[in-house]
């Protein structure tokens, strides 16, 4: 097992009922690196991302075959506890989805459900996470007001803080900046740069510039298949396949 590979998929197939959404995807994700997943709408990026924390388990009739190795262990084994798995693999969704609770309680949520009771350590961790997500300065005076009163960009950073509070090893981000203005987007991109010191990041994005700016590796999907993956630098300058080049340069998709 390669020490530098945090997680990898092997011959991953995914089905929604009888319709197949992913075909034989094999891909590796190095530790402390950002990998961007790109591809046209409906090609299966979200589906792929949601395989890693088994979020697709919630969808009736869905089925996954193949392997996902997380630190060398197949997460689809029956012996794997999905609750623990999900606490180790955080997720930030495309649309900000804070709970209808206070800002503080949103960030503290993951700690509380994982059994942390000590008020002080919760307080510390909340502050630390909010600072990490570059939101602390904006909300420190209103921690105990509803999170739904925040702007969309602030809500998204709150969701990032919420995910970070449980100290995941991998962060899955599904178009985290799609609903944000350029300034909020920039903040999140800077944040991603910071975060990769501590964790491994998978990010779905429709924005090629963004993929170029934040990621170390890029994987291009088309109709459920992995078309090409490589270092971002190489994919963006010298893609092997015409299809990839067309997509990146905006000639289709």
């Amino acid at each position: 097992m390669n020490k530098n590979i945090k997680v990898s998929t092997k011959n991953l197939d995914f089905y929604y009922g009888s319709s197949q959404a992913l075909y034989d995807v094999s891909l590796t994700f190095p530790s402390n690196r950002v990998t961007a997943l790109i591809g046209p709408s409906g090609c299966g990026k979200s589906t792929f991302l949601r395989c890693f924390n088994r979020m697709n388990d919630l969808i009736p009739g869905s089925r996954m075959t193949g392997e996902i190795l997380f630190d060398g262990q197949n997460i689809n084994q029956p012996s794997v506890d999905v609750v623990t798995l999900r606490s180790r693999i955080g997720m930030v969704f495309q649309k900000p989805n804070p709970f209808p609770k206070t800002i503080f309680e949103n960030v503290a949520y993951g700690l509380r459900v994982n059994g942390i009771r000590d008020r002080e350590s919760i307080q510390e961790r909340v502050e630390e996470s909010l600072k990490w997500a570059a939101l602390w300065e904006e909300v420190k005076d209103r921690l105990h007001t509803s999170a739904l009163g925040l702007s969309g960009g602030q809500q998204q950073r709150l969701c990032i803080a919420r995910a970070l509070a449980v100290k995941p090893e991998i962060l899955l981000m599904d178009e985290p900046a799609s609903a944000l203005d350029p300034i909020a987007t920039q903040k999140i991109e800077e944040l991603i740069h910071e975060l990769k010191k501590d964790l491994t990041i998978l990010i779905v994005t429709h924005n090629m510039q963004q993929a170029g700016r934040v990621s170390d590796f890029t994987a291009f999907f088309y109709m459920g298949k992995l078309v090409e993956s490589n270092e971002t630098q190489k994919i963006f300058t010298r893609p092997r396949l015409k299809q990839t080049e067309d997509y990146i340069t905006g000639r289709f998709g």
Binding site: P60, M91, N97, P98, P100
Partner: protein, 312 residues
């Protein structure tokens, strides 16, 4: 100071380029569409007006006939002189006890069933069958519930004619409504909340308890209280299980028989010795019953809006 609106050349909003055939055809079509619009609007408005009018007439009728009966004595004393004098305090207390008892029984069971059905149960034949059963239960006439309560709670469990039996019967009767509204409220909670919670490593139960139920609570409570309010006004279910013709004392335990507002109206209006003479008392009692039920509904609405505000 006033604003002078300078009317320059009036703005005409007529389409200059015809959409298809001709300007005339377009205008004719537009007229027809507007006529329809007006017609449909009036129909719907009329429907609302009829509903509102009906409610208003009922309320007006009750208030006009009943308000004279409402005195302090009426609200705070027991009936006297073969129920032609005195008040209806035992009935008020009895109905309140029955409603509270029904809530205490039906809320936990109803909410738990709904949580199971909509959050845990696997969709399939069994689930459909259970749902069908619950929906049919909602259509069972209240007198049937009365007989059921008599057979099960009064006789079989030997609770006798008592608050307990009546509350259980009323509770059983409101279960379908409570389950239904709770399921609706749970369905209205966005799935993104569930995903966010599970994604943070929460168990299913933690997700339900900490996120889904609080978000659904306003809907659950209003629905539940409305259901209980509806049941509390029923005569048939308590006729054999809880209510008695007359008892001057207030209940002191769950096993006491009670007087109740709906049953009291029924008794005064059909079985009293002086039906005509007690008319004002009948209307007065009905008014109190309506006020109680409306008050309960109002409470539900206020409570919901407070919860909503808190979560905003």
């Amino acid at each position: 100071m006033s604003f002078e609106v300078q009317s320059s050349s009036p703005l005409t909003l007529e389409r200059t380029a015809p959409m298809d055939s001709s300007q005339q055809a377009y205008q004719a079509r537009l007229r027809r569409r507007k006529t329809w619009e007006g017609l449909v609007f009036s129909l719907f408005w009329g429907a609302v007006a009829i509903t509102a009018l009906g409610l208003f007439i009922i309320l007006f009728f009750m208030v006009a006939n009943g308000w004279q009966a409402i005195t302090l004595t009426f609200l705070t004393e027991a009936p006297r002189e073969a129920m032609t004098q005195g008040g209806i305090l035992p009935c008020i207390v009895g109905t309140v006890c029955l409603a509270l008892g029904a809530m205490a029984f039906a809320f936990p069971i109803g909410i738990a069933s709904a949580v199971y059905l909509s959050e845990y149960a696997r969709p399939g034949k069994t689930l459909r069958l259970i749902r069908l059963g619950i929906n049919n239960l909602a259509g069972v006439p209240s007198v049937v519930f009365g007989l059921f309560g008599l057979a099960l709670f009064v006789t079989y469990f030997r609770f006798g004619v008592s608050i307990l039996s009546g509350a259980l019967t009323l509770g059983a009767m409101s279960l379908p409504v409570i389950i239904g509204t709770t399921e609706e409220a749970l369905k209205a909670v966005p799935n993104t909340y569930r995903e966010a919670s599970l994604g943070l490593g929460a168990t299913k139960w933690q997700t339900i308890y900490r996120v889904v139920l609080p978000a659904a609570l306003p809907g659950i409570l209003t629905g539940g209280i409305l259901g209980i309010g509806r049941a509390a006004g029923e005569t048939a279910p308590i006729m054999f299980t809880a209510a008695v013709f007359f008892t001057p004392s207030l209940p002191s335990s769950l096993f006491d028989k009670v007087m109740a507002l709906p049953y009291h109206i029924y008794v005064l209006a059909t079985a009293g010795t002086e039906i005509e003479a007690t008319r004002p008392l009948q209307y007065g009692t009905a008014l109190v019953l309506i006020t109680l039920v409306l008050g309960l509904n109002l409470m539900a609405i206020l409570y919901r809006s407070r919860l909503r505000k808190k979560s905003r």
